[in-house]
């Protein structure tokens, strides 16, 4: 990836080429026949043994008084179970969705934090194709449990007719609610994660390549202090990213839990 970014920064003679969507189209690491394996695919595959290995190690030596590793594992699990699932779905049904929410949270979190780990430095979910299956899975689950709970017609009525509304205004409300609940939700769920990862990583590339260009390649020594400023901004944005990466994993899980909770809720 380093070579692509450096090429992008200095490919035109003397000028600086700003990074864009093309900076995310990495060359394949290796190919199997016609099938190119790229860096985000490898990162995605790497995240699974990391998560499974960590929680396996954390729960291997179970003790009543937890050790450090067990404490961290239990803290993350408790955060998803109590802070996200129970509060959003309700204490009656939440337990059977905890595995899904926990898997989603850790998977998204680890893949997001790849963005700031040296040498990995690429958030897998800045490629839209990796986000779409997650959002589709969530869509199938929350609509599936809604249909299973209320029946197809009952579920459609449940999501499109808000309680307490009667009369001709329903002609306006029903299409709007259908659009927002069934069609727009999965699209924004996928786009939110993708756009945040994409924009954050683009900002980091911009400050890093900008600093490199201003200090090393610009040929004007007066540009160097601005390059140092750009470098410092890059470090500050990295700290902002530390927060955003966690927040996006949290929001993705929380919204999944809320959608499931909304689909399961009884008429009131």
């Amino acid at each position: 990836m380093t070579t692509t970014v450096l090429n992008a920064a200095s490919d035109s003679e003397g000028g600086f080429t700003a990074p864009g969507p093309a900076s995310f189209e990495l060359p394949p690491v290796f190919s199997i026949g016609d099938f190119d394996v790229t860096k985000p695919m490898l990162l995605l595959a790497l995240s699974v043994p990391l998560i499974v290995g960590f929680f396996w190690a954390a729960s291997k030596n179970k003790a009543v008084v937890p050790g450090r590793l067990q404490f961290v594992g239990e803290y993350v699990y408790g955060f998803v179970r109590n802070g996200v699932a129970r509060d959003s779905i309700g204490s009656h049904d939440f337990l059977k969705f905890v595995p899904l929410l926990f898997a989603l949270f850790t998977f998204v979190l680890v893949n997001n934090y790849f963005s700031l780990i040296p040498f990995l430095q690429f958030p897998s979910f800045s490629r839209f194709g990796f986000v779409v299956p997650l959002a589709l899975l969530v869509w199938v689950v929350y609509n599936g449990v809604g249909v299973a709970r209320h029946g197809l017609v009952g579920y459609l009525k449940h999501v499109t007719v808000p309680g307490g509304i009667k009369g001709p205004i329903l002609a306006l409300i029903i299409p709007l609610e259908f659009l927002s609940t069934i069609l727009v939700r999965p699209a924004t769920l996928a786009l939110r994660l993708f756009a945040n990862m994409f924009a954050g990583h683009l900002l980091l590339i911009l400050f890093a390549t900008g600093a490199a260009y201003l200090i090393l390649d610009s040929g004007n020594p007066w540009y160097a202090p601005v390059g140092v400023l750009s470098f410092v901004m890059g470090i500050l944005v990295s700290f902002l990213e530390l927060l955003v990466l966690f927040l996006q994993a949290y929001v993705f899980t929380l919204l999944t839990a809320m959608y499931i909770g909304g689909a399961l809720a009884d008429e009131h």
Partner: protein, 67 residues
């Protein structure tokens, strides 16, 4: 220097959701300051409102790159 007018348009479009998200979290902080025990209930509502307001900015960034 080359660029795209879409990006200026996106910058303008992001003002609306920016104000909206600011108002949502201002109300959330106000609520928690007045009644700290309501935090867990207010938090999920605030995040939901934030997600809905942010959706506009997200649709904007998607269109800025697509159009």
């Amino acid at each position: 220097m080359d660029g795209n007018l879409n990006m200026i348009g996106y910058g303008l479009a992001a003002v609306g959701p920016g104000i909206g998200i600011g108002l949502i979290f201002a109300a959330y902080i106000n609520g928690v300051a007045r009644q700290p025990e309501a935090q867990s209930r207010l938090q999920s509502i605030a995040i939901l409102g934030f997600a809905l307001a942010e959706a506009l900015a997200i649709i904007g960034i998607a269109l800025a790159f697509v159009l």
